[in-house]
Symmetry: C2
Subunit: 255 residues, 2 copies
């Protein structure tokens, strides 16, 4: 998870405490939190106490803390959930049913366009391996959804992303900025991206942009399927049609 | 949404600002927030600025604020998401496929056992009307999942809930505490609940408990289907089997 610069104020410290929790470590002790946030233990003790009283954190029997239900509720008021996910779900489910693998919906992090955040991910017991889940994030350049989103992002933002070193996951991860630029241009021209074995050697993703009606690209949709020699272009029409369906639903939902 | 007593400290005020956002009003101006929290506008301005800098709130082009993506990410680290939802999803999807209506997964609010919070809700375009979505909450006594959860909650907590007036939604909503007690006893004896037209006159729910392995009840699963004269008991075995499947998955996942 990207780190953010330190800021002053209690609010910033509260967010630092909440930000100490990660997917790999969803349960933390006071000492864990103090270590990760670099805050004094007394400060952490007080903030954690107040957050627990407010339901933003829960205290387990083992004395460790987890993110609380109240935060879960509040977070579901985010437009990514109320508007985007709601409109997208029927299309995600339909696409999921016909692919029988993984279907994903993601947005670009407006604070850091180099990363995408997954809003939804549908999978099946027999689906090809997938590393993402709702709420997780990935480098944009290494994913189909990320490449689609970057292709339609502010070009200055995209260039800033490409000015930084690109993280490698497999021998197929595209790490050369010029190669990424070519993929972004293809994405704009063709209306889709095939991200081939960039994250895991066993899978590829086929992604398409989701617009708000006829407006700007607000999200990206992808299927993640086995890289087993089947022609990935088979998936392109279904993914593009689903993305268009979500775009229409978002356009209809606008007040 | 239940209101919480006022507490001192900046953390409490931060949570009050976040808590001002509701499903009906997911976008708020500074004045809206000040009005709802009873905080001075200058305080709201400062807190909202700090929350926006930290990504917990996003500022829209119209000057109104929404819950931010960063909060969405953090909230997905809640055990309700990482453990419960992850384990439950395949079973929810299977049940969803065979019922073609609505499938829900909910937990009791440990801070207020009188209410349930929905962790997941799968629906279809042609499903019978449903008022819930992930992150929303309902009075426990009026729902199938709530009755199942109350049936297995601490009896003292259940009695405290029944000591308060029960909210009516339809002519079929069970508002008499003794009638609710009978339903809770049936739930424990039979392993399921049929909640008949308590929330909307067009639908009923069939609910069953989800345990952590062989341990305590941690959640409830339900289908919401049309109240169209079809025998609701038809759904009982499928719902109970899915709930057992999730329970086994949760037991296997325990470290």
């Amino acid at each position: 998870m990207s780190t953010r610069p330190a800021r002053s104020g209690v609010t910033a410290r509260v967010l630092d405490v909440l930000g100490a929790f990660t997917a790999r470590t969803p349960a933390l002790s006071l000492s864990d939190i103090a270590r990760r946030t670099d805050l004094p233990l007394t400060t952490v003790h007080r903030l954690v106490g107040e957050l627990t009283a407010g339901g933003a954190l829960d205290r387990g029997d083992d004395g460790r803390y987890t993110i609380g239900l109240r935060l879960w509720e509040i977070a579901h008021l985010a437009p990514a959930s109320t508007g985007l996910r709601e409109a997208a779900m029927p299309f995600l489910e339909d696409l999921h049913e016909v692919t029988r693998h993984n279907v994903q919906l993601a947005v670009l992090d407006s604070a850091d366009p180099g990363e995408v955040v997954y809003v939804e991910r549908l999978s099946t017991r027999d689906a090809v391996s997938i590393v993402t889940r709702p709420g997780s994030r990935m480098p944009a350049c290494a994913t189909g959804v990320g490449l689609v989103l970057l292709a339609h992002a502010d070009p200055a933002d995209a260039e800033r992303v490409l000015a930084r070193p690109l993280r490698r996951f497999t021998p197929h991860t595209v790490c050369d900025p010029d190669d990424v630029r070519a993929l972004l241009a293809q994405a704009r021209a063709g209306g889709f991206v095939i991200s081939d074995r960039q994250v895991e050697p066993v899978s590829l993703s086929v992604a398409a942009p989701v617009r708000s009606g006829d407006g700007p690209v607000v999200a990206a949709l992808s299927v993640v399927v086995p890289a087993d020699g089947t022609n990935p272009h088979t998936w392109v029409p279904a993914v593009r049609a689903a993305a268009r369906g979500i775009s229409r639903a978002l356009g209809a939902a606008r007040p």
